[in-house]
């Protein structure tokens, strides 16, 4: 909630600063679009503000760092309490007499050595105690353990730091939150601050360090590059097979009544079935090895490419086909020189969608069952609470998916230069 408020505040503030500060100082570009006065409603005049993009990415990293106590970020949200503190409790004996005792608390960072301290017992029937607890954790404090009068003798804790407490209730003091269990023990939790615990969200430097460690030493018997390579390999083989079958099938459906009639029900039925729903069946049939993965990705790419190729054929202007016939072209020549090039834009659109779906499907399939691969890596890491590997894996999967899309767009601009210009 606080993070959301901060995020919105940064959004608004940086907008105001860039709009009224930076843009005034820097000379704006004077191209044609910048001279348009109507931009609200003119989509072509809306261009991404590079300042906004940079600030957006920086903000995410700053928030991530600030709320995880990163060393890379100068400002931090209040961290968890670490160090020594104390609270007192008041015990009441059966006869109504009361005595105070102090609980000395040592809060340590999880993973560091915590030394148990000896404390002098103090006066009265309630004796002082000492506990240590990890930051973000809580501990049960059996304060009457060393007291002269314990619960068995009818003595009860009735207040903490002067605030009355009953079984099931809780009080908050400077030292933290103290709750009383139904049986009368105290449960102590030190203040957590506003930072995330590393096992929920590690700081950026931990993720980067883990990236270098995993790329050097590997994880789960395979190096990082092997994990990524196998995921990419499956995607590319599955996609290529899907395209090799799907494109001719789509052409056939666009060119022949019989093919259209025969395959229409199959394609229209299989298209809305998400490839993820096929994972269990593919595992039953082909196991968790490469064959199953590739069959799954083949099926994921097949229908998309079929429909793209069919749409490509139907997108050919009939005058082009007529012109080619009256120039003496044969059917084969028309397929080769008119229909195939003319459907390239549609096929590329389909290929981009198919690559995206395949990449998502391979990660999901590896999450379910695999011996290697990016999805398997993050799945296994999550079982061991290795959140830094999980986050590293997610970032790498995102970067690779984005990279694939950029490559496809470059290939499209190179192979289909007439797209959108006819």
């Amino acid at each position: 909630m606080i993070i959301l408020v901060i995020y919105i505040a940064v959004f608004v503030l940086s907008f105001l600063v860039v709009r009224w500060g930076v843009k005034r100082v820097l000379q704006a570009r004077r191209d044609f679009t910048s001279l348009k006065t109507v931009t609200f409603g003119d989509e072509s005049a809306v261009r991404p503000d590079r300042w906004a993009s940079v600030i957006s990415v920086v903000t995410i990293f700053l928030l991530w760092g600030a709320f995880t106590g990163s060393k890379w970020v100068p400002i931090h949200a209040p961290g968890p309490f670490v160090g020594d503190t104390a609270f007192t409790y008041t015990a009441e004996a059966e006869d109504g007499s009361r005595d105070d005792a102090t609980v000395h608390v040592h809060v340590f960072r999880v993973g560091e050595e915590a030394a148990e301290r000896e404390v002098p017992p103090g006066e009265g029937f309630a004796k002082d105690d000492s506990v240590s607890v990890g930051a973000w954790r809580s501990t049960l404090v059996r304060v009457d353990r060393n007291d002269e009068l314990t619960r068995k003798d009818g003595a009860n804790v009735v207040a903490v730091d002067g605030q009355p407490i009953t079984p099931g209730g809780e009080v908050t003091t400077d030292a933290g939150r103290i709750a009383m269990t139904a049986k009368g023990s105290l449960n102590y939790a030190p203040p957590t601050g506003m930072q995330m615990e590393p096992i929920w969200l590690p700081p950026p430097e931990a993720v980067v360090a883990r990236f270098f460690e995993v790329s050097r030493e590997g994880y789960q018997n395979f190096t990082l590059w092997e994990h990524l390579y196998w995921s990419l390999f499956r995607v590319i083989v599955g996609f290529v097979l899907g395209a090799l079958v799907g494109i001719p099938l789509g052409f056939a459906m666009g060119l022949s009544n019989w093919f259209r009639g025969w395959f229409d029900p199959i394609v229209e039925f299989m298209r809305p079935v998400p490839p993820l729903a096929l994972i269990p069946l593919v595992i039953i049939w082909a196991g968790i090895g490469e064959t199953g993965k590739i069959i799954l990705l083949f099926l994921a790419a097949l229908w998309i490419m079929t429909i793209a190729a069919r749409a490509g054929v139907s997108g050919v202007a009939i005058s082009k086909v007529h012109a080619a016939y009256s120039l003496g072209a044969s059917r084969w020549q028309i397929l080769r020189h008119v229909i195939m090039p003319n459907s390239l834009p549609e096929i590329f659109t389909g290929a981009r969608v198919a690559m995206g779906v395949c990449w998502g499907t391979v990660v999901a399939a590896e999450l379910v069952a695999a011996e290697k691969g990016a999805g398997m890596m993050i799945m296994v890491a999550s079982r061991f609470q290795l959140t830094d590997i999980v986050i590293m894996g997610i970032i790498l999967i995102g970067v690779i998916g984005y990279g694939i899309d950029i490559l496809m767009r470059k290939a499209e601009a190179w192979l289909v230069p007439w797209k959108g210009r006819v």
Partner: protein, 269 residues
């Protein structure tokens, strides 16, 4: 030589609601080699259907087309088409578009290169042969379409509103080019147009068609195409007979349109 005979052509097809459309009824024509005939008529008069049947894209329900003594049964390189727009191949350069026909016949570059260069020279695109067609203006694209059709050396050229998508100034220039190509190559040409002026300027013969059913309404023989060759077409338009014919044909088509409107209203009432 190449005589085109259109014999008792009828075209009738069923509609899904049980009715039918009589697109053409008993159209008979003879075109001699080297004639340029323009075809005019209100929309729905079947002029594009007629052209598509001659091209071989549609089969008539009655009658037949005979070219050079053999019957037309499908599209063929002997009958070239020029479309209004969008029929060029964007993935090919200007030169590859123009050489498409010869290449499809399996000719080698050495065989067709000289002719292609010559045609590009005639249509004024010599310096554009390496360009992509999407980089050209509409008028230039139609020049490519004309050159592409001529590169195949067809006996008959069928033009379906070839200048319809061009702006008025470009259109006038292109009309001159069509006349020039017609005279230089001596091709038989059927030209469909919506513009009465264009039909008068370019057509040695002018066919006015009437709708519902599509049929020949009237035919003219005109002197303007011969007058216009190599001259400023605006001079031809100033000819008193030109203005007279234009008015006559315009009012003829107007009457047909009115009649259609009246009939639709009756049907609606």
């Amino acid at each position: 030589m190449s005589t085109l005979n259109i014999e008792h052509l009828s075209m009738r097809f069923d509609l899904p609601n049980g009715g039918y459309v009589q697109a053409l009824e008993d159209v008979t024509l003879e075109l001699k080699s080297g004639e340029l005939m323009s075809v005019l008529g209100p929309s729905g008069c079947g002029k594009t259907t007629l052209l598509n049947i001659v091209a071989g894209f549609l089969a008539p329900t009655e009658g037949r087309i005979v070219l050079n003594g053999h019957e037309v049964t499908g599209p063929d390189a002997e009958r070239g088409m020029v479309f209004q727009q969008g029929a060029l191949f964007e993935w090919m350069s200007v030169r590859d578009n123009v050489s498409f026909g010869p290449r499809m016949k399996g000719q080698r570059r050495a065989e067709y290169a000289a002719n292609v260069d010559h045609l590009l020279e005639i249509v004024g695109l010599r310096d554009f042969k390496e360009k992509s067609v999407y980089e050209l203006s509409g008028g230039m694209q139609q020049r490519v379409a004309l050159a592409r059709c001529l590169a195949n050396d067809p006996d008959v050229i069928l033009m379906d509103e070839p200048l319809g998508a061009l702006d008025a100034l470009t259109r006038e220039k292109m009309q001159g080019l069509v006349l020039k190509l017609w005279k230089e190559t001596g091709k038989t040409i059927i030209l469909i147009t919506h513009s009465v002026e264009e039909a008068l300027l370019l057509g040695e013969r002018l066919l006015v068609m009437a709708p519902r059913p599509g049929r020949i309404h009237r035919e003219y023989s005109l002197p303007f195409a011969d007058m216009g060759v190599g001259k400023d077409l605006r001079e031809v338009k100033k000819h008193p007979e030109f203005a007279e014919k234009r008015e006559e044909i315009l009012s003829m088509i107007w009457d047909m349109e009115e009649e259609i409107m009246g009939r639709t209203e009756e049907a609606g009432a």
